[in-house]
């Protein structure tokens, strides 16, 4: 069984995907969906996907809420910038380097998605050898403020989840 379901989370997700797509929870589709999900999960072993170790569901929920709130806030902020509502100050944008402790590939991928999805910040580069993350910030007021935000708000939680 474990030989076949190497990625149980993925398989479950695929089953949910299948059921959502078909908008049904009928027995037939659960059976068919499971079959497809197992095959789908198995296909990932071919692609040598690293094994994920995810823990702390609470941290996950906290992170999600945090990201959601940040996204809404940043949306408004960036919308203001675009509409020219700079409140009379000179806006500055630029790159900043952030040293990261996070090494887990899933954690990094999640961080990439979070940073990129949040308006105003962009994942620009990551140097695996030094663990340096480069991001681009649209409204760069205080560089150290940004570093702290990323590290304390996101990286900490991600380290908890993907440790």
């Amino acid at each position: 069984m474990t030989r076949w379901i190497r990625f149980p989370l993925v398989s479950v997700a695929l089953l949910i995907l299948w059921l959502l797509l078909n908008q049904t929870v009928s027995a037939g589709h659960i059976l068919l969906g499971s079959l497809i999900a197992i095959i789908g999960g198995w296909s990932l072993t071919l692609l040598e996907l690293p094994i994920a170790r995810m823990r702390r569901p609470t941290a996950m929920i906290r992170l999600s809420a945090l990201v959601l709130a940040d996204i809404v806030r940043s949306n408004i902020a960036v919308a203001r910038i675009v509409l020219g509502d700079d409140r009379g100050r000179e806006r500055k944008s630029g790159f900043i380097d952030i040293p990261l402790e996070l090494r887990d590939p899933y954690g990094l991928a999640a961080l990439a998605c979070i940073i990129t999805s949040t308006p105003g910040t962009l994942w620009a580069n990551f140097d695996a050898s030094s663990g340096t993350l480069t991001i681009h910030v649209l409204d760069l007021i205080d560089e150290s403020e940004w570093i702290r935000t990323i590290k304390s708000r996101y990286e900490r939680l991600l380290l908890e989840i993907f440790a």
Binding site: A27, G28, S129
Partner: protein, 971 residues
């Protein structure tokens, strides 16, 4: 039936002859000889039937619906010529047996000779004009092959080609003429045509028909102005000349004239066209013959002259003229054949045919000399020989009043004068070759040839003598029946006696004789030094012919091809676009523009704005495609997206899905290709473009605008028209009831018109295979081989950095996207399966599912690189394609088991425990085949392209290629 054998036998012999050993002259001669002999014997048995005007016919069905029969028709004329053909054929075969050297590959020779004999017999025995033309062209072909027998010499090749070209062209004209005759008469049957003379002569098409037939006859018989091929044809082996230029090939033309005289003769046009051609040829040939230095050349011009004489006789348009013509055809055949043989013997024995080098051969080969002298005397028209008789008849005819024109009145004097030249060249032949001092410096010392080599000539000379002495006992009946076949029952009286008393024609003969001797004596001294006839010497017919042929068939043709054709693509596309424009617009000029009804849909600002974007992208792509390929590609995508959205708007979700998936793959595909295209810099700004290019652009712009507006107008006209009752009704009504699916489009695709889909996936499979095959041999241009600029820069930065490996920085930066892409693999796969399974009822289906599945695979390549993926994931695309094709076709063919036609679908509900009834349609299986094939084909194409990068990275750098990285063309 037996009659067909007469014609078929030589051809059969020809086929057999090929298979003998290369130097088996005896066997070949026996074969050819016996075939000639059998033909002669057959003719002998047929003689009683044709003598006195009888006709023997045999009709075989050939193409009855076209009125084409195979008719063998023997009357007196045909009989006489058939005997000449077979008889002289027999003698030539015997002669050739000794003439051809043991080294010559004789199977070819005798095979062609027999085939030629068959074709000649076919001409004279044809009872149908089309059949006659059929054999006419065959004689041309085989004479070509015979003349070019020694094809290693340029002279043989060129002369054969010239003879073939001229006579075949004439043959084609004859064909046309015969077709017109058939139109006039309503039949190609010779009997019908011969009995319709009045209809033909009074028809409006008479003159064209006559001219065309004459072109055929006059070219074949080497009449002025088509005479020049004949002397050149002397490059043939002498037996060939003896046969072709005495009894056969050239006689075909005059035979045809005599044959058709009852149908076409008797008009002013006939008199003038045929008569003048004959007269000019007679004079010219005789004059030129005198000045020839080559024995065979002399004989060739003499042949031309005698054929002119015969033509003139035919052209004089009197019954007796025809009789004399037939008589001279026979006589000329006998003496000319023997003369050619003699010339051949001389050539064979002495090694030269140059009259200036030959002399005094009388002493060295007395028998041959005697034979030749008698034959030459016959040629000159010396009494007691056959040539004298027909010449007398000729003179008599010229005296007759025909149309009493100036030419007609002058005719007796002119022909007498010309006959002096006939006598002169005959005399020259005898005097310069056989008399005088013994020859010096000949390549070989001449002596008498073997008896059997002389025998044919001897027999022919004997014939000349016998006929000349006792004509009425020998050829009398034959000539009579031949004449009756032409002139009919109203054959006027004529006498074949040697002595008619002191007649004007006798006087003419005597004057010609005396004058001929005089001419010879006058020109003799000049002949030994001259290079040819005065004035005409500089006209080299071969060169003129060649030049004209080259000018017409090569220079002019190439100029025409270049002018009215092109090898470039753009003009072709311009023409196609223009042609389509005309085809699409012309009907509106004819039927008028009928605008449709009102606009059926409300205004939708969003849709209009969306199309503003789409149109901008399309125009932008058109503008940028030359210098900013990537930009054009992106704009193309924008235009495609507008199309997709329109599909959604226009109630075509399936199309939108498919187009979206295809868009994605196409973009990846084009990008893969972009890698291998050369950098293009903005070299010339358009304002500085030369006027020519600006003109081309303006023209293309007009075409493009017209095409765009045209298509738009057509679309508008249709859209504003009320819908027509269409077959779509049936599909909507029965998609579920009979097809078992609610998505009508999908039911059409996999069921109602599943056959289209089967074809369509086949196209995809074929293209994938072709792409694969092409890329296997792909070799990029030198400047595209090095790694791209970006990689070069990134790699060198990594190499400069102490603790980084080549490519590492990009790899670590891309780790996150790559991981997400890997996770997406099953997700996209699930989406694909979802679309596949629901396709029958909801938008989706095998095709779009297959493309999406392929995208899932390609994404992995994109994120991880070819080598990485292929080390882990083995997709066997060709196998997928094969299985898909078999599955789709197999599902269709499964209907055979139930005695239904191909692709008959069935659907039912399958009861499965726990799950319940699930619909199972055979169409789904079909769609599965489509899916498999599409996955295979799409992946195969993309992978094949992707592999090029791997291949070229591995490939050693080409020596000439720049080490510098290629510069990408994007800005």
């Amino acid at each position: 039936m037996l009659l067909i054998a007469v014609i078929a036998l030589p051809f059969a012999g020809s086929c057999v002859a090929v298979f003998f050993r290369a130097n088996d002259r005896n066997a070949e001669a026996y074969l050819a000889g016996s075939i000639s002999l059998v033909t002669l014997l057959f003719m002998a048995t047929a003689y009683p039937l044709v003598v006195g005007g009888g006709v023997v016919r045999y009709r075989a069905e050939w193409v009855p619906t076209l009125g084409l029969e195979f008719v063998v028709r023997i009357d007196g004329l045909a009989w006489a010529l058939a005997v000449l053909i077979a008889g002289i054929g027999l003698l030539v075969v015997v002669y050739a047996r000794y003439y051809m050297s043991p080294a010559d590959p004789v199977p070819r020779f005798f095979s062609f000779l027999l085939a030629f004999m068959g074709a000649m017999l076919g001409i004279v025995l044809s009872g149908n004009l089309i059949q006659l033309v059929f054999f006419w062209e065959l004689t041309g072909l085989f004479s070509f092959l015979l003349i070019s027998y020694w094809h290693q010499t340029a002279q043989a090749r060129d002369s054969a080609r010239m003879a073939f070209t001229i006579t075949s062209a004439g043959g084609l004209c004859l064909f046309a003429g015969v077709l017109i005759l058939g139109n006039i008469v309503g039949s190609y049957d010779l009997d019908r045509v011969l009995s319709s003379g009045d209809t033909i002569r009074s028809h409006a098409l008479y003159v064209p028909a006559l001219i065309l037939v004459l072109l055929g006859a006059l070219t074949k018989s080497a009449q002025f102005p088509f005479h020049f091929w004949l002397p050149r044809a002397m490059a043939a082996p002498t037996p060939v000349s003896a046969y072709l230029h005495s009894a056969t090939l050239v006689k075909a033309g005059v035979f045809l004239l005599v044959r058709l005289w009852p149908a076409m003769g008797g008009t002013h046009e006939w008199l003038w066209l045929v008569g003048s051609a004959g007269l000019v040829t007679f004079i010219l040939g005789a004059f030129l013959a005198v000045f020839q230095q080559d024995l065979k050349g002399l004989l060739a011009y003499s042949t031309i002259s005698h054929l002119g004489l015969i033509t003139l006789l035919i052209g004089l348009d009197t019954p007796l003229g025809q009789v004399a013509a037939i008589f001279h055809i026979m006589n000329h055949a006998t003496f000319k054949a023997s003369l050619f043989m003699a010339a051949g013997i001389i050539d064979h024995e002495s090694g030269t045919r140059d009259i200036r080098r030959l002399s005094g051969l009388w002493r060295l080969m007395p028998i041959t000399a005697s034979l030749a002298m008698v034959a030459a005397a016959a040629m000159a028209g010396v009494p007691l020989l056959n040539g004298f008789l027909s010449k007398e008849m000729f003179f008599a005819e010229t005296i007759e009043v025909h149309d009493n024109s100036l030419v007609d009145q002058a005719l007796p004097y002119v022909v007498t004068a010309a006959s002096m030249f006939t006598v002169a060249y005959s005399l020259r032949f005898i005097r310069d070759v056989f008399f005088g001092p013994p020859p010096k410096d000949l390549p070989r010392t001449p002596h008498e040839p073997p008896f059997l080599m002389r025998l044919p000539a001897a027999l022919l000379v004997l014939a000349c003598l016998v006929v000349g002495v006792a004509p009425s006992f020998t050829v009398g009946p034959v000539l009579d029946s031949a004449a009756r076949a032409v002139v009919g029952a109203a054959l006027p009286e004529y006498s074949l006696a040697v002595w008619h008393g002191f007649t004007p024609e006798l006087l003419m003969s005597a004057v010609a004789m005396a004058g001929g001797v005089g001419v010879y004596l006058v020109v003799r001294s000049r002949l030994l030094v001259s290079e040819g006839p005065p004035v005409l010497r500089h006209i080299d017919a071969q060169r003129i012919f060649d030049r004209v042929l080259v000018a017409l068939s090569w220079r002019l043709a190439r100029w025409l091809e270049a002018t009215f054709g092109t090898r470039r693509l753009q003009p072709q596309l311009r023409l196609i676009a223009s042609a389509a424009l005309i085809a699409g617009l012309a009907p509106f000029f004819i039927h008028g523009l009928a605008p449709g009804g009102a606009l059926g849909t409300p205004f939708d600002l969003a849709f209009a704005l969306m199309w503003a974007v789409g149109i901008a992208c399309a125009l932008g792509a058109a503008y940028q495609a030359k210098f900013h390929r990537l930009a054009a590609l992106v704009m193309l995508g924008g235009a495609g997206l507008a199309t997709c959205i329109s599909f959604v708007w226009l109630s075509a979700p399936d199309l939108a899905l498919t187009q979206l998936a295809v868009e994605t793959v196409t973009t990846v595909l084009l990008l893969l290709g972009l890698r291998w295209l050369p950098k293009r810099t903005w070299q010339i700004d358009s304002s500085g473009a030369p006027a020519g290019i600006r003109w081309y652009r303006a023209r293309d712009f007009v075409i493009a605008v017209a095409a765009g507006s045209g298509l738009a107008a057509l679309a508008y006209l249709v859209m504003t028209r009320p819908a027509t009752e269409s077959i779509a009704r049936y599909f909507v009504e029965n998609a579920y009831v009979k097809g078992g699916g609610t998505n009508v489009v999908n039911v059409i695709l996999v069921d109602f018109r599943g056959f289209d889909t089967l074809g369509e996936i086949t196209v995809l499979a074929i293209v994938a295979l072709t792409v694969f095959a092409l890329l296997r041999r792909f070799r990029p241009a030198a400047e595209s081989i090095p790694v791209p600029e970006q990689q070069y820069a990134q790699d060198s930065a990594d190499e400069a950095h102490p603790d980084r490996q080549k490519g590492e920085s990009v790899k670590s930066a891309m780790a996150a996207p790559a991981l997400i892409v890997r996770l997406l693999f099953p997700v996209v796969g699930v989406a694909a399966i979802y679309l596949l399974l629901r396709g029958h009822d909801q938008p989706g289906g095998g095709f779009v599912a297959g493309v999406i599945m392929a995208v899932a695979v390609i994404l992995q390549y994109l994120a991880q690189g070819t080598i990485w993926v292929e080390a882990r994931l083995r997709v066997l695309p060709v196998r997928w394609m094969g299985i898909g094709l078999l599955l789709a076709a197999g599902t269709g063919a499964a209907a055979f088991l139930f005695s239904h036609p191909f692709l008959t679908s069935s659907f039912s509900y399958l009861e499965i425990p726990l799950i319940g009834a699930i619909p199972v349609a055979s169409a789904l299986l079909f769609d599965l085949g489509v899916f498999a094939l599409v996955v295979g084909a799409t992946v195969l194409m993309l992978i094949a392209l992707a592999h090029q990068s791997v291949r070229s990275h591995r490939a050693p750098r080409a020596p000439g290629a720049a080490a510098k990285p290629s510069v990408s063309e994007v800005r």
